[in-house]
Each structure stands twice: as C-alpha cells, then as structure tokens.
C-alpha cells in the first residue's frame, strides 16, 4: 500500500474516531493490554490523531513491567552461586533488580548473553557445557510455546546443563481483575497472544463486565481500525468481542502451540509487579520437564525485594498516567529507572518520557 493511501486511510479512521468521541458525554479510556501495541502506537504517532477525551492506557501485557524485582535478584544470585551463564531476551537487560540490573552484573564480569530465540540458548548451553546455562523465562502465551518446544528439544538431545527460570504469565487472570475497573471503557486485545489462545476466549469481558474488546494487529491502520471499533461499541453500549486480526488470529487459536504448552507447563500462582499475587496466572514446568526448572535445581536464598515506596508503577500499570507519580521525570528517568515502567522501552513511563508527554 503506498504512503499516500496509508495516510488517507489513517485520516479517514482518525476522523471517524473524533466523531465517535464527540458523541460521548464521558471521557473514554481504552486499555492497550499488550506492550507491543503500546510501542506500535507510539512509533506511528497515533496519539496525535486522538481527541482530548480519548485516553489510551497501558495494561499489564508488558512482561518486563510486571516482572518482580527479585526475579532479577534471583537470576544474579544463581549465576554467582553456580557460576552459571544467564541467557535472556534483550528486554530484560536493563531492568533494575535490588542490586543493579543484568547489565550491571555483566559489567562486573557476570556471564549474561542476549538471544533472539530460546533455541539460541540451547546453542550456548552446548557451547558452555557443563556450566549451567539459565534461560530467563519472561513472556506471555505467545512466547511460552517457543520455550516449551525448546525444552522438549533439550530433553531429546540430552542437554543436561540447560535450565529455565520461569516468570511466565498468562493474560486472562489480570484481565479479569482489570475488567472490573469502572473507568475503563474497552480493551485493545493482544494480537499475537490471541494467535495462540484464539479470539473466542475473551467473552467474559462482555458477559461478566459489559466491556468491548477488539483483537488487533500491529500496523498503524490495524490499530486505528480496532480503536474505532472499540469506541463505537463503547459509545453505543453494544459491547462485543471482535477479531480485527483475522489474517493471523483464528477463533480457537493454534492447537499445536497450545498442546506444546500444556505438555510442558502447568498453571501456578504468580506475583505481578503492581498487582500482587494473582492465583493461577503463572506457569511452571511440570512432570519430566521439571528437571529443567532452575528454581528447584539451582536453589538460592533470594531476599524479598524492597520496592521504593514512592514508586507508583502499580497504579500506572492499572491505568494511571505517569505524571501522577512524583518520581516521574525526576528521580526516575530512562537512563536511571526506578521501576520497570520506565525501563521497558514500551512501558508507559518510558514512552511518555521519550515521546514527549512529560
């Protein structure tokens, strides 16, 4: 599609969005559940199209934002105690733990390697054998099956120095908590998580909470179209779940991926930064695959993390704007973050700071 047509289509959708917002007698707040949507919205400058009574707030779908500080602490302690190599996605490298980030640990001589794929971690484990290699497992339902497949491969190949430290999370438990909030009018639902879990599973948003949700892709026009659909349903009180990413998302998701996940992982309670412990919202290795669990096989004594009491990541994650936090832009900046909302490049605070809403 050429640039001219793209801008015209965007302008058309923006005009519809303005019209719909104009019909509402109340401010409209849509939650972007997925961190990748937050990033895409900022990169395309979509907020410049929105009228003042439309607010998009970042939700809990940012694996770095919701990872507890002591996950980093535990990883570093494991690396020190067992002379292990930590392998991670890039997203986690600058997240602050209680004693510095993985980047800090690396600059002090710690072994930290960044990978694009969990399968790359297997290559590192083989290379460093017999040194324990610990993959830091962050992510939601999109990423979990890829680690499940990697673990199965590790088992088949008999790689015994490969471990996973799980901080994996699932999206429905926190979504159910957030849907109850009165001041959210609708949800921009994750595109690729839904490719795995399907678009049919979100009906509780409508049935139990009367809120609309639209599964959206990541191109700027996909997102504008989805927002227009959410607004129409919010303004006219006709909540539904709509799949606006049909070219990738099927109603019942990806059966092979779900089966892979189900074979290797089982649900457990998990602690979410800003939301506390949510029952059944985490994933842990099960059955024969628990031999890869770093938590049990490389135990360390991790002191509970001390969060800065002034940090308001909790409120920001559930919809408040960054300027309501006294640390924002002052003690907490991208180069020197306090909480993960500022560290993650798509976290609400980092995006606000970098892209201008100070």
């Amino acid at each position: 599609m050429n640039a001219g047509n793209e801008s015209r289509a965007a302008a058309a959708l923006a005009r519809d969005i303005k019209e719909l917002c104009g019909k509402a007698s109340f401010p409209l707040r849509i939650m972007e559940v997925c961190g990748t949507h937050t990033m895409a919205i900022h990169a395309a400058g979509l907020k410049s199209f929105f009228p003042p009574n439309l607010q998009l707030v970042s939700g809990p779908g940012c694996p770095v934002c919701v990872t507890e500080k002591n996950f980093i602490d535990q990883a570093v302690l494991i690396a020190k105690e067992y002379d292990a190599c930590l392998v991670t996605f890039g997203d986690l490298v600058r997240v602050p733990g209680s004693f510095g980030s993985l980047a800090t640990f690396r600059s002090e001589g710690g072994r930290v390697r960044v990978v694009y794929s969990p399968m790359d971690a297997m290559g590192i484990a083989s290379e460093l054998s017999p040194r324990p290699t610990v993959f830091l497992g962050i992510g939601f339902e999109t990423t979990v099956p890829t680690i499940a497949a990697t673990i199965k491969t590790a088992m088949t190949m008999g790689i015994d120095n490969f471990f996973v430290l799980s901080a994996f999370k699932t999206i429905h438990p926190p979504l159910k908590i957030l849907a109850a909030k009165k001041d959210l009018n609708g949800f921009l639902l994750p595109g690729h998580v839904s490719a795995i879990i399907g678009s049919d599973c979100y009906h509780y948003l409508v049935d139990d909470f009367g809120k609309p949700g639209v599964v959206a892709g990541f191109e700027p026009l996909d997102i504008l179209l989805a927002i227009q659909d959410i607004l129409r349903m919010a303004v006219f009180s006709t909540p539904q779940i709509i799949n606006d990413y049909k070219r990738v998302v099927r109603g019942n998701g990806n059966a092979a991926a779900l089966a892979m996940t189900g074979e290797v992982f089982e649900a457990c309670d998990a602690s979410w930064r800003g939301l506390g412990v949510i029952r059944g919202s985490g994933l842990t290795l099960k059955g024969p695959y628990s031999m890869f669990d770093a938590n049990t096989h490389l135990p360390v004594d991790t002191p509970p993390a001390q969060d800065d009491p002034r940090c308001r990541c909790a409120a920001v994650l559930t919809g408040s704007t960054p300027d309501t936090c006294g640390l924002f832009g002052k003690e907490c900046i991208p180069d020197d973050p306090v909480g993960p909302c500022m560290v993650s490049s798509e976290g609400t605070c980092a995006a606000y700071y970098k892209y201008g809403e100070r």
């Binding site: 599609m1 015209r8 289509a9 997925c34 996605f89 179209l225 049909k246």
Partner: protein, 79 residues
C-alpha cells in the same frame, strides 16, 4: 508482549525446520507449531518460531478495506 513479523517460507531445511526471508534477512525457524505451512507461505515469526500462517485472503480483504477508506477520503477531500 508479542513482537512477531511475517516472513516468507523459502526452504524446508529439516524435520520441522525451515528458512524464512524478509527483505533479504533470512533465518532458520522452527515449524512445529505450523505443520500446515507450505513453501511460499508467509509465516508469523516470533523468537525464531512460526506461530501462525498468514491468511492471504484475509490480508487482501484488509488491504482492500484500507484502499476503499483512502479512496473515499480522497473523494471527499476533493469536494
């Protein structure tokens, strides 16, 4: 939570693995979650894995919708 991009499947390289390409950047990916994938298909690639096959018909429907919106906007603009 889900950075993934469409890449074209250009070669089957083994049991459950294939090579994909986008813009001249190629990588080996795992195909175990997309058993229905065929050469020439566009796969959604996340962290070195295919997580879905792009439905080209739906992709065209979506592009047509955007083109219509653009045409309608241009027509209105010219009034």
């Amino acid at each position: 939570m889900c950075l993934a991009v469409p890449m074209k499947l250009i070669e089957i390289t083994g049991e459950g693995t294939g090579k994909v390409d986008s813009g001249g950047v190629r990588t080996d990916v795992v195909l175990s979650m997309v058993p229905q994938a065929g050469l020439g298909d566009y796969l959604i690639i996340h962290a070195g894995f295919g997580i879905e096959v792009l439905d080209e018909e739906e992709a065209h429907i979506r592009l047509d919708l955007f083109r219509e919106l653009a045409e309608a906007y241009r027509a209105q603009d010219e009034l």
